[in-house]
Symmetry: C2
Subunit: 302 residues, 2 copies
C-alpha cells in the first residue's frame, strides 16, 4: 500500500567527531521516505526553495519516491546546522533558517488524498490536522512531534492525537507529554488520549512499543561506529511505516516486525553521514540484518 509522508526537506550542515558535512540533503520527510522506499511506494509532501539542488531531486526519484508533492517556492530551502559531541547522543542546534519552511501549508494533490498510510512528520499540530482533513480515508495515520509543540501547542497536539493511530516520539517527549516520569504510566496516559499504539524511541537504548494490551521492547542494533545520528528517528519511522504498508497489516505480530525494521534502518543510517548509507542499501542487506537482530535478542524457553 502507498504511504504519504508530510514533513521537512532541508539542507543540513552537520558536524560530528568524524567530520563536517556542509549543506547535505536532510529533513524529516527525506529520511523517512528514503527508509520507507525499500518496503513500499512513498509520496513526499514538503516544500523546498529555488536553490534546491536538482541532483537531490534525482536522488529521491532514484529511490522510486514520488516527489510530485514537493512544492518549489520562492526563497531559500530550510537550513539546519547542528553539532554532536563525543557521545553522539544529542544534537546541539547551531542555526536554524526556516526560509520557505516557515510558511509551509501543505495542499495535497488529488492523487495523494486517497493513500492508505499517512505519516505526519514533526510539524505544527494545526498543520498536521489540516493535512488529515484533506485525506479521504487513510487506513493508518502515524505522527511524530517534539518538545517545541508539546510546550507551545499542548491542546492542539492533543486534538491531533485523538485522530492518529500511532504516535512515535522519544522517551523524554513521552515523559514531558504525559507529565509523568515513569514510562509505563506515561504510556498508559497517552494511549488514553487517542493513539492505539505508542512507539517510544530511546536512541542507543532501543525502542518500546505500547498498546492497550501489550508492551514490546527491543534494544538498538549495536553499531560499530556511530558517525552521524541525524535522521535516525525519521529513518526508524520510515522503516516502521514502510514495513506496515508493505504487509497492509497492523496486527501485533506485524507491528513488532515493523519496530525491528525501523531499528534496522536507523542502525544503517547512523553509520555514515547524511543519507550516504541509507540511500545505498539493498533489500538483502536489510533482511540479513533482520536475521542478525533475531540472533541478537532471542533466547530459548525454559
Amino acid at each position: 500500500m502507498g504511504i504519504l509522508a508530510v514533513g521537512s526537506v532541508a539542507l543540513d550542515s552537520v558536524k560530528t567527531p568524524f567530520g563536517f558535512e556542509p549543506e547535505i540533503l536532510g529533513g524529516s520527510a527525506t529520511y523517512f521516505s528514503v527508509a520507507a522506499s525499500y518496503f513500499s511506494p512513498v509520496s513526499m509532501v514538503a516544500v523546498v526553495g529555488e536553490d534546491f539542488p536538482e541532483v537531490a531531486l534525482t536522488l529521491l526519484q532514484s529511490k522510486g519516491i514520488d516527489t510530485s508533492g514537493l512544492q518549489r517556492q520562492k526563497g531559500k530551502t530550510f537550513r539546519w546546522t547542528g553539532e554532536y559531541g563525543s557521545d553522539l547522543n544529542a544534537a546541539k542546534t547551531l542555526e536554524t533558517q526556516l526560509n520557505v519552511f516557515a510558511d509551509f501549508a501543505p495542499k495535497l494533490l488529488e492523487g495523494h488524498r486517497s493513500l492508505e498510510f499517512l505519516f505526519l512528520g514533526n510539524i505544527d499540530p494545526d498543520l498536521q490536522r489540516n493535512v488529515l482533513e484533506q485525506m479521504k480515508r487513510p487506513k493508518i495515520v502515524a505522527c511524530d512531534t517534539m518538545n517545541y509543540w508539546i510546550e507551545r501547542k499542548t491542546e492542539s497536539l492533543k486534538q491531533t492525537l485523538t485522530l492518529v493511530d500511532i504516535l512515535l516520539i522519544n522517551d523524554a517527549e513521552t515523559r514531558q507529554l504525559a507529565g509523568e516520569p515513569n514510562l509505563l504510566h506515561a504510556a498508559k496516559q497517552i494511549l488514553g488520549w487517542g493513539p492505539r499504539t505508542l512507539v517510544v524511541k530511546r536512541g542507543e537504548y532501543g525502542v518500546l512499543m505500547f498498546t492497550a494490551k501489550s508492551v514490546f521492547s527491543v534494544p538498538a542494533f549495536p553499531v560499530e561506529q556511530v558517525v552521524d545520528p541525524t535522521g535516525a528517528g525519521d529513518s526508524f519511522a520510515g522503516g516502521f511505516m514502510g514495513y506496515l504498508a508493505a504487509t497492509g497489516s497492523v496486527e501485533e505480530s506485524s507491528l513488532r516486525k515493523a519496530i525491528v525494521f525501523g531499528s534496522i534502518m536507523a542502525s544503517f543510517n547512523v553509520s555514515q553521514f547524511g543519507l550516504r548509507r541509507l540511500a545505498s542499501l539493498t533489500y538483502t542487506e536489510i533482511q540479513e540484518r533482520f536475521r542478525e537482530f533475531r540472533r541478537l535478542t532471542h533466547f530459548d524457553d525454559i
Copy 2:
C-alpha cells in the same frame, strides 16, 4: 552445583523518593546470595561486626543460604548511607563506614574450597585473587568490580581478569576499563584480557552480553514503580550465576537464559525497599516473569 559468593554484608540506610529505611540488611554478597538461592545452593563469605542482628542471619538461613563463611569480628558491621534522586538512576553516597569490612581478608573453609561456581563481588582485586588461590578447581569464576578499583588498581584488576571466566560490570565501567567510548570496541578489548564472557549492565536500559562469537542484548523488564534500586546489580548477578549453577552449563543458550533470570531478579528487587521483595518470591513467580519476558521481547521471523 554449589556457588561460593564473596563480598560485603552491610547495614544500609537508604533514602529514595518513596521513603527512608535506616539500617536495613544489604551488601553485595547478601543481594547476590538471596537472588541465587532460588536456583542453587549458595554459601556466603563475608564479614560482619558484633552488632550484626541475629534476625538478619535467620533471614539468610531461611533462604537456605549457607552462612558458615560469615565471619563475625570485633567492631561494627559495614554501614552505607545513600540517597537516590527522582530519576532513581544513580545513588549518591552520603556516608560509608567500612568498619570490620576495612580488614576483610577472606579465609575459606575447607568445604568451600571445592565449590564449582565462584562469584567474586566488588572487592579489592588483590583479595579477589587471594580467594581464587584458595579454591581447588572452580568450574566457573565470575567477578564484579567498580570505578574505584579501575582507577586505583588497574594492573591488579587486569591480573584478576586473566583468571576469570565472566566479568559483570556496568556500561560506564566498561568504557572506563577499556578507555574506549564505543561499547562494542570496549567489549572486544576487555575480552582480549581474559574473560570469555562480558556482561554489561545498563540499569533501566537492560543488559548486553559479549563473547568472542556473539552479542546478546535484552532490555530491562519494565517495572511499574522503581522504589529502591539498591542491590539491583548484585541481584542480577545472583540470578545469572544461580541459573548457570543450576544447569551446570555455560553454553550460549544457558548464558542467555541466565541473563534473563538475572534481569528478572533485578526487576523484582527494585520494586520494594531492601530485600523485601527479593526475599519473598516464589519460584513460580520467577518462571511466570520469564514467560512475560519472552512475550516482551520476541518477534516472528520474516
